[in-house]
Amino acid sequence: MKGITLKIDGEEVKAREGMTVLKAAQNAHIRIPTLCYHKKLEPYGGCRLCMVEVESRGSAPRLVVSCLYPAQNNIIVRTRSPKVDRVRKTVLELLLAHAPNSFELKELGKEYGADESRTGQEPSFCIHCGLCVRYCAEVKKKDAIGFVDRGIHKEIGFVPEIASKECGKCKECFPLCPTEALQAAYIFVEALAFPGQGH
């Protein structure tokens, strides 16, 4: 494996080929906030919170998602900049409109100065990070939960036939959810489709 050296926030960081910028930063204990990232899962690139600024070979800095962007030799990464912070602030404002009580979001919101009163509140709780869906598919290989519909109508949904058999004994996705919308969805489907069987 070829060694790579890149600069993150002024600090020289070593990485291996195939590693993402996020991973390289995590290894060097440099914090980049994430919502849809999970170390056991394929990177998703959905929440856009982990965006950082990258400069390579003298080109103008550009925004990339660090959970997907491959670490390369000699690139300069900035995990904070006015641009990065603005994106994170807006993303958090947009998400707080859905999940105003999420502890994780509130903490991040405070850090980036998110003002949730700017966006029209529309609590639906799920922020579509897909952790539950992807964990069930990639780690558990059960596909008991999936996304339904698209655009603003996109929702998570349990497949009752699978969920009634698999979920009661597993529930490993529950702690992954940053908003607890997942548990609500589960209780809802259990009550409607297989009351009392999910345990």
């Binding site: 990177p43 998703y44 690139g45 959905g46 929440c47 856009r48 919170l49 965006m51 925004l63 990339v64 998602v65 997907l68 962007y69 491959p70 641009k83 603005r86 994106v87 807006t90 993303v91 947009l94 998400l95 409109a97 859905h98 700017r118 966006t119 029209g120 529309e122 922020i127 579509h128 897909g130 996304f147 519909d149 698209r150 655009g151 603003i152 109508h153 996109k154």
Partner: protein, 642 residues
């Protein structure tokens, strides 16, 4: 067929069986004309030819779309090329007995120039066609879209034969690079460079793909090409495959295009039968096959990585990868994706050479481009124009201007990701970079003309509403950003906008364009940004004065009857569905604003000679008149009575 000679022999055979003097009736059976009754017209022709015993002497065929959809169904009678518009089944007997048999022109079916009153007999005399350069769709009306023989008779597959038998893949690649052909799907990426990257990418298995997932509102360029001339797309795809080193192709077509799917499946079957697809094409040793994949109705699948994900059988969501799809695309293999029109441009480039292609165009945009010209335009339809033509020429010379004496306001190009171009920029030359510079984009070729009655805030709202449904919903700046933008825009059109809304919209737009995952999200704010750039005053009027300058936003207008103009004809009172007209015999009518649902019926039915109903916006409605003030004294009648 297993050699170039074979192809020529087949072509000569087809041609020798044809008599160029034999009358041939071409009936457009593209989707547009079918919707206006071309199926019945076609059936009537078949029956009429049969009943007049002319089956051996006259040909009749269903063809692809020649573009003039406004005047469909279109019938062209060869060899004279007499063009009849808006043909109905009851005209058919006359056409056969008069035009086909007697060579007489039926005046009432000809094109009439509404400005000059001049009639045009031949297709090429119609101003709509005269100013076009139809290298791609020009043959549509001549070719039976279900017949490979017809395509071959008109020179089809010559380009493929030349590429496979006389050129190396590198030479084909060079020719396409020299032509400067750029992606017609909207991105404008140089096609040759895309092919080259895929050719040099590692891996034995490579794919070439046709993007026929056309989904922009009001756009139907690709549908017309695929329906009307499917072989031209297959030929281009095969040439591309040869240049890239691919042996397997996909045609991703939206399932909402049943006729395109039908015609392309027939075309593939026939091409395989003729040895123009499959193993050892034309004896060249080159193998290539094509599979048709039907889309499941997601606009976002027009985006390249989403389309490729869908091809793999997964939900059509864009993939956020920093490796290009030409290197790692479908199943992580090098994949070249080009849109229908791009592929259809390839055969003539190879056949006639890149110099022929670069005759047209601006410095950086060469060739022709098909646009679907729709909206508030006299000649709705499909137009193919040389790059570099001005918007003015498209809208006025080809499109015939704005109907009903209305004023032009803007032209929306590039679909939901594009933008609006105002009147003062109408001299703009059409080209990829030129349109982008003006804040819009070429896109795949949608061109929606807007007149003075169109509210620009509402236009932005409309496109964002479209995108809230069509976003895949994966990334936050797109899914949530568009949702919030739509909310704010809707409020503004309802008169509930507040200071600061524009700035918030701009901020959301900026984050979407910088941080969204795919091209759809990154360009989603364009309809807002370009309308703001050129029509900021309209946004401000909505927010600050609660006024819609175009008098289009329902919540911001009131219907009002001008007392001095009302003649108490009672028409509006009788037609009002909400019973909101305070009428009465010989009494000036008034709108009861509390009951009015703003349906606009009174405005429409008030006789033009009175034109008493007006729309008010941003001003208070004058108080109702008292009963005495409303009495209309009919002078003439009074005089008679005394």
């Amino acid at each position: 067929m297993c050699s170039h000679q074979d192809l020529e022999t087949v072509r000569q055979e087809i041609l020798s069986k044809r008599d160029s003097k034999k009358p041939c009736i071409s009936i457009c059976t593209g989707t547009g004309c079918l919707a206006s009754g071309a199926g019945e017209v076609m059936a009537a022709f078949t029956a009429e030819i049969e009943s007049q015993g002319l089956k051996a002497d006259v040909d009749a065929k269903g063809t692809g779309c020649p573009g003039f959809c406004e005047k469909g169904p279109i019938v062209v009678i060869y060899p004279e090329e007499i063009c009849y518009l808006e043909v109905k089944p009851e005209d058919v007997a006359e056409i056969v007995s008069q035009t086909v048999k007697e060579n007489k022109v039926i005046e009432r079916l000809l094109y009439v120039d509404s400005a000059t009153g001049e009639k045009a007999i031949h297709e090429s005399d119609i101003p709509f066609y005269k100013n076009q350069e139809r290298t791609i769709i020009g043959n549509n009306i001549k070719i039976d879209s279900k017949s490979i023989d017809d395509y071959i008779a008109f020179g089809g597959y010559t380009g493929l034969a030349k590429a496979l038998l006389k050129m190396t893949p590198e030479e084909v690649l060079d020719e396409v690079k020299k032509s400067n052909l750029r992606g017609r799907g909207g991105g404008g990426f140089p096609t040759g460079r895309k092919w080259e990257e895929a050719r040099h990418a590692a891996g034995d298995i490579k794919y070439v793909i046709v993007n026929a997932d056309e989904g922009d509102p009001g756009a139907f360029m690709d549908r017309a090409v695929l329906e009307g001339n499917p072989h031209s797309v297959l030929e281009g795809l095969t040439i591309g495959a040869y240049a890239v080193g691919s042996h397997e192709g996909f045609l991703y077509v939206r399932n909402e295009y049943p006729l395109a799917i039908e015609n392309v499946l027939i075309a593939i079957e026939k091409a395989e039968e003729y040895g123009l697809l499959g193993k050892n094409i034309l004896g060249s040793g080159f193998d290539f096959s094509v599979k048709v994949h039907r889309g499941a109705g997601a606009f976002v699948c027009g985006e390249s990585s989403a389309l490729m994900t869908a091809l793999e059988g997964k939900a059509g969501e864009p993939r956020p990868k920093y490796v290009h799809t030409v290197v790692k695309g479908v199943w992580d293999r090098p994949s070249v994706l080009n849109n229908v029109e791009t592929w259809a441009n390839v055969p003539p480039i190879i056949e006639k050479g890149s110099d022929w292609f670069t005759r047209y165009g601006t410095e950086k945009s060469k060739g022709t481009k098909i646009f679907s010209l729709v909206g508030k335009i006299t000649n709705t339809g499909l137009v193919e124009v040389p790059m570099g033509i001005t918007l003015n020429d498209i809208i006025y010379k080809i499109g015939g201007g704005i109907p009903d004496g209305k004023k032009f306001k803007a032209v929306q190009t590039g679909g939901p990701s594009g933008g609006c171009i105002p009147e003062r920029l109408l001299d703009l030359q059409v080209g990829f970079d030129e349109l982008t510079k003006a804040g819009s984009m070429m896109g795949s070729g949608g061109m929606i003309v807007l007149d003075e009655d169109t509210c620009m805030v509402d236009v932005a709202r409309y496109f964002l509403e479209f995108l809230t449904d069509e976003s895949c919903g994966k990334c936050v700046p797109c899914r949530e950003g568009i949702r919030q933008m739509l909310k704010i825009l809707t409020k503004i059109t309802k008169g509930k906008g507040k200071p600061g809304d524009i700035e918030l919209l701009q901020e959301l737009a900026e984050v979407a364009s910088e941080a969204a995952l795919c091209a759809l999200g990154r360009s989603a704010a364009n309809p807002f940004l370009s309308t703001l750039q050129y029509f900021r005053d309209e946004y401000e009027a909505h927010i600050n004065e609660k006024r819609c300058p175009a008098l289009a936003c329902k919540e911001l207008i009131n219907y009002y009857i001008e007392p001095e103009k009302c003649k108490a004809c009672t028409t509006c009172a009788r037609k009002c569905p909400a019973d909101a007209i305070i009428g009465g015999k010989n009494l000036i009518h008034m709108v009861d604003q509390d009951k009015c649902t703003k349906c606009g019926t009174c405005f429409e039915v008030c006789p033009d000679r009175f034109a008493a109903v007006t729309k008010l916006s941003g001003v208070p409605v004058p108080a109702n008149l008292s009963e005495d003030q409303r009495v209309i004294v009919r002078e003439v009648r009074e005089a008679k009575a005394s």
